[in-house]
Assembly symmetry: C2
Homo-oligomer: 310 residues x 2
């Protein structure tokens, strides 16, 4: 918890304190009071800005001078590029050569130096290693990193300041960086609070790992929620198994319906990964009548030419 508090001090003037939004219409449908934490309105359009910024600003000047490196085709890539540019250091972003041009453009907009590689995990890892050997850059993993986890946990500090009466938090789980950080902060600040992870049924490694008590990797994830396809990291899992109350799964249909309803009623664009929390409400996976439920809308980056209900 101490490292999360320090992370918040470190990054608070470099990120948005995102708003919490509510909707009488959605509350009436749900029979609960829903508090949407809008990380889709965060810098770079996703919560990843928090962890990447914390990790970059924790480096010593000597380490930082050599730059940072990661492999990611998603929001962490843009978040790391932005954090590095804030510190005025190079960011080397290893991306598969088939990653969408929009994602590459986002990285370049923040001054990131893209290193393309074949679209396999082995190729990504070896490309990142090559960059590290060549430049001495520090590797910043998207989620299996205590600095990143601490940064993601800052969301819970804000959310509990904004909605002290919260009873439950619903948080997406992919690699587990966000869920673990939020669980540590939330349980420390309010021990009665229930923290529930949500993931697509087609990428349910976290739910199965949680039940089994050991990491069961996801071999063939099938979901439109890109950001949740990754398997749980070891460091996040250690906190999740200790602190999280439950992990529930949701269907693809519910994810799409959740995205659509949040857009239609709340006028907010949320990517599939960011909509799973509300999808769990639609599927009545959380039975807590009249409770105050916090829902993390974790990101809002998606291709408007391919909205999933088209």
């Amino acid at each position: 918890m101490q490292s999360i508090r320090e992370a918040h001090e470190r990054i608070r003037d470099k990120i948005h304190r995102t708003p919490v939004m509510t909707s009488d219409v959605l509350d009436a449908m749900a029979g609960s009071r829903l508090h949407f934490k809008c990380e889709n309105l965060q810098k770079v359009g996703a919560f990843k800005a928090r962890g990447a910024t914390n990790a970059v600003f924790l480096l010593t000047d000597e380490e930082a001078a050599k730059g940072v490196v990661t492999h990611s085709s998603g929001n962490h890539a843009a978040a790391l590029a932005r954090a590095a540019s804030l510190r005025g250091i190079p960011a080397y972003i290893v991306m598969p050569e088939n990653s969408p041009l929009a994602k590459q453009a986002a990285v370049r907009r923040y001054g990131g130096d893209i290193v393309l590689c074949e679209p396999t995990l082995a190729a990504r890892e070896s490309a990142a290693r090559a960059v590290m050997e060549r430049t001495g850059a520090a590797f910043i993993h998207p989620y299996d990193d205590l600095r990143v986890m601490a940064g993601q946990g800052t969301t819970a500090i804000e959310l509990l300041e904004q909605v002290p009466e919260l009873d439950v938090i619903l948080c997406p789980v992919g690699g587990g960086g966000q869920l673990s950080g939020i669980a540590v902060a939330a349980k420390s600040l309010k021990s009665s609070l229930r923290v529930i992870g949500v993931e697509p049924a087609g990428a349910d490694d976290a739910a199965r790992s949680f039940k089994a008590g050991r990491i069961i990797p996801m071999l063939e994830p099938r979901t439109i929620a890109d950001g949740l396809k990754t398997s749980l990291g070891g460091k996040p899992f250690a906190e999740i198994i200790r602190l999280v109350d439950d992990i529930v799964t949701v269907s693809e249909d519910s994810i799409i319906q959740a995205m659509r309803r949040i857009l239609e009623v709340m006028k907010l664009l949320v990517e599939p990964s960011g909509a799973v929390g509300y999808a769990a409400i639609l599927e009545s996976r959380v039975t807590a009548p009249a409770a105050n439920i916090g829902i993390i809308l974790s990101g809002g980056n998606l291709d408007l030419n391919r909205l999933p209900w088209q």
Copy 2:
């Protein structure tokens, strides 16, 4: 101005004080500091909640008991139904029989009593008159009504509290209720502020009327911006000609591009009518480098099955 201040006191606990959002990305593209006033996040998804609520709560108890009536197929219909339900009185909403089911559903959700009629202005007016004769309900015009104009003007009070350094306000203009209310409030609070109306080139009656100094009705409007197809009302025009600095027009392509970019970058859903202010920025219709520009995102209600870039 006094009536706008009183309107704000009257309605402030019945509407949202909508947030003002900014984007470094859009600012860099525009070369100005843009302040988006998010009336798409207003109750019923549009600024119309302000004027309708003010009009309904200005009625005497005796008048109110007989209910209110209007003809509208748009946001004013839902806004009047909601305002009436807040006061616990009937709302009769005359709608053309071909109006979208989603619009009808929105009115019913707020308890409005829908009276369907043929889709002509004559049929709408005669249906509304019949309701008034039968029930004694008070007619609340969507824009040609001083109570409604005063309610819409409350947006400017909030915006200038939120962004005192504002130099320019860009406001959509259809019937003129919002533009006139905002012009009165903004000029009264900060006389140096420039107020500019924006409308589609395919429904440019306000621009032509403004130049001619007299109302030139719009006979065949052609635009996706439904809410801006109406001709200027006489009461709004009297204020607009006196106070507004300019009225500019934008193309359909710019409106679509503006909607899309606001959604992509800011994650906010805006209807075509609500996007014309930013479309004017895209077309460089407002040349005010480095100025602080307020942009009214007036509403966010549209059919997600028919997004215009599909």
